[in-house]
């Protein structure tokens, strides 16, 4: 599998290098940036995963938050052990998404877009009004156990990389092909007896569970979470990563997330200009390079093969 797919081998090598970097680098800031890159890549990839069935899912941000809050509640209020708290994130996010998907995935297109947007804002509102969840100031004190403290960044990166790899495998499997078939024309899979609504819910739950786990990792990485971290803006940025990297292949959102996250480290100093910059980048990429970075790459490779053809 790896021999026939040098790109995948390279990605696995990069992930291993990142884990080694987290284990042996002395600089916590750069390790933190690497974790951000991976977490943003998971956000972008899960957003794209629901795009496979043709729905734009703003609730990615909500399930990222639900995962983070589930872990925070499990570890600070119920004092559950580290791995169980971490496991709470995907479980709760998966359950909530199954219910939400069951209700909302009967709709599609603009209705689903709007309802997922409203859900995200309302879940955030719910956090700010719950005393139990710390209200506006959020929750603090999610620390990995002392024994694991030094290894935590490596564990975080391993988990996030595993999510990315898992989603890649799912997309390549028969299930992934069925999801794409639903996007193309959902009447055709229905005509061969597939339960299209059920499959849509499954796709949605897979993506939400994955992003929920990333939320749990985020809670332990930051030790502090607040409602303001989980606005619809999280999904907007994820979408920007997808668009800039290119949505044709799973590597697109990963490249986009890495590029923009690293660029964002320099942009924080711009203050109010930061948003203008993001806005301009999104509009510029959309109008000038619709295929994103991998679209450009493909165009390059395509044109070079065309030139070689006559020989």
């Amino acid at each position: 599998m790896l021999r026939s797919n040098p790109g995948l081998a390279l990605c696995i090598l990069i992930a291993l290098a990142a884990i080694c970097f987290a284990l042996f680098s002395g600089d916590p800031y750069y390790v933190q940036v690497v974790i951000w890159v991976f977490a943003n890549a998971v956000l972008a990839v899960t957003l794209r995963f629901v795009l496979l069935i043709g729905e734009l899912n703003i609730a990615t941000a909500a399930f990222f938050g639900i995962g983070a809050y589930a872990t925070a509640v499990a570890s600070t209020i119920y004092d559950l052990p580290f791995f169980i708290s971490l496991l709470a994130a995907p479980v709760i996010a998966g359950l909530v998404s199954a219910l939400f998907g069951w209700i909302t995935l009967r709709t599609k297109g603009p209705y689903f877009l709007l309802i997922s947007f409203a859900f995200t804002e309302i879940v955030r509102l719910f956090y700010t009004k719950s005393e139990f969840l710390g209200g506006n100031s959020g929750m603090i004190g999610m620390f990995p156990p002392m024994v694991l403290n030094d290894y935590y960044p490596a564990i975080a990166i391993t988990l996030l990389a595993a999510i990315l790899f898992g989603l890649y495998l799912t997309e390549r499997s028969n299930l992934g092909r069925v999801f794409k078939a639903i996007q193309n024309n959902e009447d055709i899979p229905r005509s061969v007896g597939l339960n299209v609504i059920g499959l849509k819910i499954l796709c949605f739950v897979i993506a939400s569970t994955a992003v929920g786990l990333a939320g749990g990792v985020h809670a332990y990485t930051n030790s502090v979470i607040a409602p303001a971290d989980f606005t619809f803006f999280v999904a907007v940025l994820a979408l920007a990563y997808v668009k800039i990297g290119g949505e044709g292949h799973i590597i697109g959102p990963i490249i986009g997330a890495a590029t923009l996250t690293l660029a964002g480290q320099f942009l924080h100093s711009f203050g109010p200009y930061e948003n203008i910059f993001y806005g301009a980048i999104i509009i510029g990429v959309l109008l000038l390079m619709p295929g994103g970075i991998i679209g450009l790459g493909k165009g390059f490779i395509g044109s070079s093969t065309v030139r070689r053809d006559p020989h």
């Binding site: 909302t104 209705y111 309802i115 947007f117 509102l125 979408l239 109010p272 806005g279 999104i282």
Partner: protein
């Protein structure tokens, strides 16, 4: 009784602005099949222009208050129309009927314009002086004259739009395009021009809502964003693309907000709206007055 009348008056007053805002959104959706997340920035732009022109007109030029308000209102509509025209020509016209593409474009615009507003105006809320001072009482409930006039103006604009959509030739082509674009084009309706008109009318409606709202509430650079979530709920309830649905939905949401906000608290009211949407989606996914989906 007095209390209920008071709350009902609040409902009508908030509702009339919601209706204007949601109408623009639903009109743009109907004609172009896109959801404009930058709709709130039209609202904000108008409110900011009104507040700065009023401060300039009354403070620096010494004009009378109502004259500078009329001037400000007019300027706000013109400027927002111009912004709408520019973003349509350079952006939206390439994304007609492309839900995901137009979503991303409008989000980019939202970031760009909100950032620009923040730099131009800063984060400090500004209030403008009362355009029409005085109070009226109605069945024991008291209401500032200003809010009453706001309500009447908003209702007149809504009525005007209803007549425009249902009684004029432009309205007929807007409805035809919304119903079936290809069939409309076969009848010789210029789709792209009609889409531009629909977009500009939608932007103007948001500008009217913003310019009216600036008289009763302090203006900030994010004032439009609060309206956006509620407007989305309104058009989901009313059915995307339905004029009457937006009117009913707007009033219903305002009713929940003012009564729920009084008897419980504002965030419970917002949660109640969401529960309403969920129930509605289970029972009738296409909205109260929406057309059945394919």
């Amino acid at each position: 009784m007095e209390l209920q009348v008071q709350l009902l008056m609040n409902t009508l007053q908030i509702g009339s602005v919601y209706v204007l805002f949601a109408l623009g959104l639903t009109l743009i959706f109907g004609v172009m099949k896109i959801v404009n997340f930058a709709h709130g920035t039209f609202f904000t732009a108008a409110a900011l222009i009104v507040s700065s022109v009023m401060i300039w007109g009354v403070g620096t030029m010494g004009l009378s208050i109502w004259f500078s308000y009329l001037l400000a209102f007019f300027l706000a509509l013109v400027v927002v129309c111009l912004i709408g025209f520019v973003v349509y020509i350079f952006g939206f016209q390439y994304f007609l009927k492309d839900l995901n593409g137009s979503f991303i474009l409008s989000i980019g615009l939202l970031l760009l314009l909100n950032g620009t507003f923040l730099i131009l105006y800063g984060g400090v809320p500004r209030s403008i002086p009362d355009v029409i001072p005085g109070n009226v009482s109605f069945l024991g409930a008291s209401l500032t004259l200003q809010r009453l006039v706001l309500m009447i103006v908003a209702s007149v604009i809504t009525l005007g739009l209803y007549i425009l959509v249902h009684r004029t030739k432009l309205g007929l082509s807007l409805r035809a395009v919304a119903e079936d674009q290809e069939a409309a084009m076969l009848q010789g309706i210029p789709f792209r021009r009609v889409a531009l008109y629909g977009f500009l009318i939608g932007a103007t409606l948001a500008a009217c809502a913003g310019a009216l709202m600036a008289t009763v509430t302090p203006v900030t650079t994010v004032i439009g964003d609060d309206f956006l979530v509620k407007a989305f709920i309104i058009i989901i309830i009313g059915g995307l693309g339905s004029v009457l649905g937006a009117i009913l939905g707007g009033l219903l949401i305002a009713l929940i907000e003012s009564f729920g906000g009084y008897y419980f608290d504002p965030s419970t009211a917002t949660l109640a709206m969401f529960v309403l949407v969920v129930v509605l989606l289970i029972v009738r996914p296409q909205g109260i007055l929406g057309h059945a989906e394919k």
